[in-house]
Assembly symmetry: C2
Homo-oligomer: 552 residues x 2
């Protein structure tokens, strides 16, 4: 491969905040020289975009396919937390991501997941204790300690947590934060521990407090959480403290755009173009000390070519001097990959999800469209033959979480908000432990949807009596090993079926995947049982004397 050439244009030098006409000489994938020279009517050359925090797994694509889609949007690098696969496969999963990522000319910077498992109240396939995390951080393939979600642990000086933080410091690697709604003294302790970023802000006030304590803020806009609109005004006051990230980006949305979308939106809102471009590349590159080129002599030749600086959609994307994408088509080839998984689940039967009526009201999870938090209330159950079943009329449906690592009895609860009129949905993407989660209009539908999932050892499924669909995700039950564009189309299709079954949610499978996320209030369902996040402990599905929920 000959990565030596020259390219001329309006060079956007974010390091020195200037734009000049010139020629870049690329030799063996590196920039050997930049000559200022008048060039008429040439396109702009600027550093490629960086997603400063993204779980590749949420794209349902392996890294090599993620790269194919992302490079078309001018993305050249990601700071990536392999948290999801680590919950399934532990260190083996992290190593899979690293080695798969190396198959393609794209710059993945993986971190060591800091919180696997996320809580002690759920069952994961993998566990990363302080020793394993330290071992990972010692590797040159691990670039940071990622997403310290256990902020109570940090604030209270939990020894295991502090050992992980100490290990990151020992190897001089940055520590990423995750501190939604943490403020005041608690936040000071959290930042004082050495945590330097946060991507969980959804209001300017919180972000400003964090910035005042020295943190960098990642403006997140992905498939799950969307904070761009709330936080972009910070671009006027604190541009050097900002980066862009997607956190979770589903394949059908990654096909449409990536960091380039946020750049265009910010410029359209009137923010300074160079400030916006820095948030999309330089700020992340410098903060994480990423080996990504910034158009300086000696840098890797990582850059994009755009025609309109106010609408910087990549016409060409270069990584290490290799043209990896042009006009929306990637030159990266599809790569075969193996399919590591951890999936030990026998088929389910009716008695596994039977819920006896005890003559009491039941607690109901109240899910809110587009949000990962839930509310809760109590209601009279619908009882058939002594068992509590889904009530389509009142939209109080049975939800099931099934341990996929051991053959234990499923956890069953009830949820409002999905709106299914018939059929069932199931997914092996279920944060953070990625057990199996399903919701449905009847017990039979739920069993069919879960068993279809089990048959394919993971994926997302929609089942009803007139049709059934499965999108297999054989890599850890989280990712497909196939072409990204086809996966995107398949995911759109199963989503459409979910809506045809009556779901009124914007993204039914996404909401479903977060109903088992125990760290976000109020009422959630782990594979081990119904979980009251405020009390941070399990709770009965039946109303009892301790129940403090509105009755409906």
């Amino acid at each position: 491969m000959n990565n030596s050439f020259t390219i001329g244009g309006q060079i956007v030098d974010l390091v020195h905040s200037r734009i000049f006409s010139g020629v870049i000489v690329v030799e063996d994938g590196k920039i050997s020289k930049i000559k200022e020279k008048a060039i008429g009517n040439a396109p702009y050359i600027l550093p490629g975009f960086v997603d400063a925090h993204v779980h590749i797994e949420s794209s349902m694509l392996v890294p090599s396919e993620f790269a194919r889609l992302a490079t078309c949007h001018g993305t050249v690098a990601t700071v990536s937390d392999p948290h999801e696969i680590a919950n399934v496969l532990g260190v083996k999963g992290v190593n899979y991501m690293i080695s798969n990522g190396k198959k393609v000319p794209f710059k993945f910077f993986f971190g060591a997941p800091s919180c696997v498992p996320a809580t002690a109240f759920e069952t994961t396939g993998g566990t990363l204790d302080a020793k394993l995390v330290e071992k990972m951080l010692a590797s040159p393939d691990i670039h940071y300690l990622s997403e310290m979600m256990n902020y109570p642990g940090v604030i209270n000086g939990d020894p295991e947590i502090m050992a992980k933080i100490a290990a990151a410091k020992k190897y001089g690697k940055p520590i990423d934060g995750h501190a939604p709604m943490v403020t005041g003294e608690a936040l000071q302790k959290y930042v004082g521990a050495g945590i330097s970023t946060d991507h969980e802000c959804f209001r300017q006030e919180g972000a400003l407090e964090k910035i005042s304590l020295g943190m960098k803020i990642l403006i997140r806009e992905g498939s799950a959480a969307r904070n761009f609109e709330a936080l972009i005004p910070l671009m006027a006051s604190h541009p050097d403290k900002l980066m862009f990230c997607s956190d979770d980006k589903h394949p059908n949305e990654l096909v449409k755009g990536h960091i380039d979308e946020l750049v265009c939106r910010a410029i359209d809102l009137g923010y300074n173009v160079l400030d916006v471009l820095k948030a999309a590349s330089l700020n992340a590159i410098q903060h994480y000390k990423l080996n990504v080129g910034l158009l300086q002599p000696g840098d890797d030749a990582d850059f994009i070519v755009v025609d309109d600086l106010r609408h910087p959609i990549a016409r060409q994307t270069y990584i290490k001097g290799e043209k990896v994408a042009e006009n929306g088509v990637s030159n990266i080839k599809y790569e075969e990959t193996d399919t590591p998984n951890y999936f030990e689940r026998p088929y389910l039967y009716a008695q596994d999800i039977f819920v006896p009526d005890e003559g009491k009201k039941i607690k109901v999870i109240d899910c809110l469209d587009g949000q990962v938090i839930t509310k809760c209330f109590t209601a009279e159950p619908k009882v058939v033959n002594g068992g509590i079943v889904s009530d389509v009329e009142r939209d109080i449906l049975k939800i099931v979480v099934v341990n996929r690592y051991q053959p234990y009895t499923p956890a069953v609860a009830f949820i409002k908000g999905f709106g299914l009129k018939r059929g069932a949905l199931a997914s092996s993407v279920a944060h953070d432990s990625h057990n199996l989660v399903a919701v449905g209009a009847t017990d039979s539908d739920i069993l069919h949807a879960i068993n279809l999932l089990i048959e394919h050892t993971g994926g997302v499924t929609a089942y009803c009596s007139t049709e059934m669909m499965a999108v297999p995700l054989p890599v850890a039950g989280l990712m497909s090993n196939e072409d990204g564009y086809q996966v995107a189309a398949a995911y759109e299709n199963v989503n459409a079926l979910a809506k045809r079954l009556g779901s009124t949610l914007y993204a039914p499978f996404m909401t479903l995947a977060f109903m088992s996320l125990l760290v976000i209030p109020e009422l959630k369902l782990s594979d081990q049982g119904l979980f009251d996040v405020k009390k941070f402990g399990f709770t009965s599905i039946y109303e009892d004397e301790n129940t403090e929920m509105p009755a409906v």
Copy 2:
């Protein structure tokens, strides 16, 4: 139920070819009186529409659901040949159709299928010999001998065939024809045997010859064959010889329209409104002596109410005085039904569809979009590991027909025209024996698609590595027992997936279903082997000295 009321309007009396203003008195579902009376600005009341030849099974709906959808389009009756289910289940299948149809207020007139099996070169689940056919014809629930496809048998006086015809005559029941391209002396013999209709004309000449011999012509416009445009000019010259029929109507198209569409199109073309309406009701009612009302005193109160006689879309549909549909919504309720089937097929393995390379060219079925006839040619095979496989580049794909009644070795051949780039399609709707038919880009895809079909004991499936869909048809592997609108949506969805897999055909599953229809030239595939229709016998898939096909 009170089916006694009066209704006023512009009454369209097709029996006396007049339209008059009046009031119809309905008592107990029958018209007791019609009074001429001036009524200002009232809607039109006309006889309901009759589909003069339709295989209900092709709608993928059981009769009770077919009725729900059809009544919304002003259809009150069908002349229906239960040929498809008879091939699977014999007399038991026919009886299922009759008894299911009786559950709803719709007028089904079933016939005795005349040709089950259709040929001796395929395996069916059911057989109807002359004795059984005579027994059926003796029943008041059987109204005619349907679709005498075996015209060579009629012309040559085959005793079994002649016995079936004699039985129909004995009970005074009409005999339906099916004589594509039969002319001259042969046609005279065919008509002379007492066969009085034909729905296989696709040119005016053929139709005129049949009319001259006394036959009635059914203008067919369905999902499979579309002859309306070619034959509608006969409406000017021979209106009293014509009826409308759909023959095969898929659920997604039945949702959109039925005989009403043909009526509107014919009126739009300028043909006499009364002539067109007669072809849509009176002509069939009189020919088949159907107990369907024609707005005469004493008749059943079967009629529709329309606002615009030149665009007669039913605002209300009445059958025996019961308002069965209004404004596109049926009052017929969904009825539970059992799911009789004949499906004895173990899963398939790779060796079952392995085709050894013999160093020779292979014969290839050349399918044509929107047609049931095929062409053929010979080509060099693509060989991998000693076996002949699908060649996506040249669009020469493996096609498999699998006996679903006995566990015999599948028949395998090759076909051009499907255009699949990946994945496979499979169907248990496969004329006329309804074995399993599949086509695919790789052996593995084909096995998955067929095994998915076997898992659901029938239906249509599409399989690829990124997604899979199944539309189960548990009633004989031909029909769903579920809501017709949902079945229509499911069928649209699996069709869309087939196209996403690369198929360029208008209706890939329909074309697939006709590749095993041995009575239509040139090269077809039965469960027993590749079939040369011109020679009317089996042929090797390898080129041999007798091969008379163009080489490609």
